[in-house]
Symmetry: C2
């Protein structure tokens, strides 16, 4: 229709000509210098199109690490756990080779193949994301311990010894329906349809090679302050993500998240371990609990997210503090204290879910799709064991699903997802 | 902190002073007349703060009709179907009286009660929407046929004769888990947490008076063109909402949606009937189907949404058109033709859902939470019967849930939800 090149401001498309029209002198009473436009736009929380990535809501697929880990957390996730039905290593390798260019296209906001309305064959792309932009889509791949035991693949000797099913934790009530899997695909995006479309098209391209074991959609809602995303609240209304690993700090990430050379199997260097837990939150019980009791459970104030007795979300917990009666201000059985006392860290990257009603009980099927990344599963295990039977939060939650995946390192141009593993064979 | 009055542009807050700073002459090279600012902002899809409602993402609760029906469809829904456990009419009436001011607060983006961090009692509001704005939240209430049969309520004689369970349709495979209910609450918003929070707090305020029967979250993703929302695509990738009732046309709405005086029970004047159907879409089967076959199924092109052989989404179907071999261009068994040939109309207001995997089959639990509004259930029934066993779409979908609710007329200040019904007793 028009040959104007389009410039994209977040989800608003305007052409360069329109932009000039509205920003150039003389048009409709507007005279606006470039710096002025920037200031005006930044007030509205819009980015100037200073680079392609921001301007088109695209995240870069290539790099030292996979996307969807250090990447800022968008508002939606569709997480899928798959079983493989391939019987040879070659088929498995081909699967990841097939997925690589498709993932690039999806993250660019493009369909995975050309579409035609004169189709005597199925369309290459399922099409429901047509017209939607890339929406900061990230796609993260991992492999579960069970993949290494598949007969015929010859992968057993390549399994890092720490890649096993998680141990049973006190209070676990795992449902096989939401547990395990050979491969995971985590699709995060600022649009639920874009995330779903990504997983659907990857699974479709793997027809006959994988089956779906379980999946879960989730969301995060961000309060905004001065155009800046604030820590989101989980369904217990507490801020979730305070005192997290700083994803912008290379030191932090290398220390906590990214596997360093020599730390485990060489193919995992630059990779990380993903733990997924489907945690049901008993909202009805929680909602009958006094606010003070809720705050004692977390060790934090609900409103501000500050440690009990303090005022700022990022104030140090101050575990040594005591109340008038000599009791610890941050209770001994509180979630925040137990997490801190574990001495371990991990990158949390969770989403809330609301999946209807549990028919048998008439209660919400809602809670947290907990996702964490760590360079060694023991980090998660140590923290979870610190909660153990002590954590006051246990009264209000039940872990219903669990899975662990080894996430490959990042992919370079010309390479493919998982190449490090296959090359090591 | 500051006494500046805040003006809100969608989800961005700026103070009037900031606004003047950025729009007044001389500041940071910006000189922008009011009309120029309006033009610039409209390019970015922003509304000028010409009225409070748009500026704060608030929808008005009060009016001749309930919100969430003629209101523009936002991106998320949380739909809940409840059973009542009250045993007297007074209790039921009190329930709606309780809900009324809470609904007003929720739609204003306010918590339903004051919060305190020194709480020896449960907080009045569950809190997970704190910091989020109203997000165009609408809350729509309806009552199902079963409510009128509850012993002790004495409502039987007030049931409009058309308010009954829907008849069995060919191919229905209804699951009681997603069927029926005494009361529905439809919460629509541009944020999934805001919608969920609304339903949760209303149910919580009704503790001991209602139980949850079923619920379903859903979404719509809007392609944008020139800052204007385009028709969203369902998970079959076809545009869903073409040739819908024009919600801006009073004539259309009065003809199709709003019950007129004398048309049925007087308490329903200004109200409407809501039909909800949880329609599973067999994505795996669909995705193996040739595009031409998919288009023949709908009678429309996937890409443009235009009737087969035409180019624009809003082109008339042209049912009389024939192809070279003398066959109807819009196939006799296509969904669009059968809908049109029913001669009936209804307001469709549906959402997609993706609720994980069906364990028994390993297929997606995904599809459409179909919601329609009509002044008489026969409109939906006639269209659905027109599809009957003929509709080619039947091969790809299964209706798994069904419910019908009579939605009260709108609420005036000083009145309460459902007053028309209770006053008529």
């Amino acid at each position: 229709m028009t040959e104007e090149k389009e410039v994209k401001f977040y989800d608003k498309k305007i052409s360069r000509r329109q932009m000039l029209k509205y920003t150039g002198a003389g048009a409709a009473g507007v005279a606006l210098g470039a710096s002025g436009l920037g200031s005006l736009m930044s007030v509205f929380g819009m980015a100037m199109p200073d680079d392609d990535e921001r301007a088109t809501n695209k995240i870069n697929f290539y790099g030292a690490h996979q996307s969807g880990i250090a990447t800022d957390v968008p508002t939606h996730v569709y997480f899928a756990s798959l079983n493989v039905v391939v019987t040879s290593l070659k088929e498995l390798q081909d699967l990841f080779k097939t997925w690589t260019p498709l993932t690039v296209r999806l993250m660019n906001g493009e369909p995975i193949g050309d579409s035609s309305t004169n189709g005597y064959v199925p369309a290459k792309d399922t099409g429901e994301a047509k017209g939607l932009d890339a929406s900061n889509l990230t796609i993260t791949f991992g492999v579960g311990p069970s993949l290494f035991d598949k007969p015929g693949l010859g992968l057993a000797h390549k399994r890092p010894k720490e890649l096993t099913d998680l141990p049973h934790f006190p209070k676990d009530q795992l449902d096989p329906t939401y547990t395990g899997g050979d491969i995971c695909i985590q699709a995060c995006a600022d649009d639920p349809q874009v995330a779903f479309h990504a997983v659907r098209n990857l699974i479709r391209a793997a027809s006959g090679k994988v089956t779906m074991k379980w999946s879960q959609a989730g969301f995060n809602s961000y309060p905004m302050k001065k155009s800046k995303k604030q820590t989101p609240r989980n369904l217990f209304a507490f801020k979730d993500g305070t005192v997290n690993v700083n994803t912008k700090s290379k030191t932090d990430m290398n220390e906590v998240v990214w596997v360093q050379p020599g730390e485990t199997a060489s193919w995992m260097t630059g990779g990380t371990y993903l733990v997924a837990r489907r945690i049901q939150m008993h909202l009805e019980t929680w909602d009958r609990t006094a606010l003070g009791e809720q705050e004692a459970t977390f060790g934090r104030h609900r409103d501000t997210g500050a440690p009990i007795g303090l005022h700022q979300e990022n104030d140090d917990l101050g575990l040594e503090r005591k109340d008038a009666s000599g009791q610890p201000t941050i209770p001994a059985d509180s979630h925040a204290r137990l997490a801190r006392e574990s001495g371990e860290r991990m990158l949390r990257r969770s989403f809330s879910y609301s999946s209807g009603v549990i028919d048998a009980t008439g209660t919400y099927d809602a809670g947290l799709l907990f996702i964490s990344f760590q360079k060694h599963p023991k980090q998660f295990i140590k923290i979870q064991n610190s909660f153990g039977r002590v954590d006051k939060l246990n009264e209000y939650i039940t872990h219903r699903g669990s899975a662990m995946f080894a996430c490959f390192p990042g992919i370079q141009k010309g390479s493919y997802i998982g190449e490090a593993l296959f090359k090591s064979l």
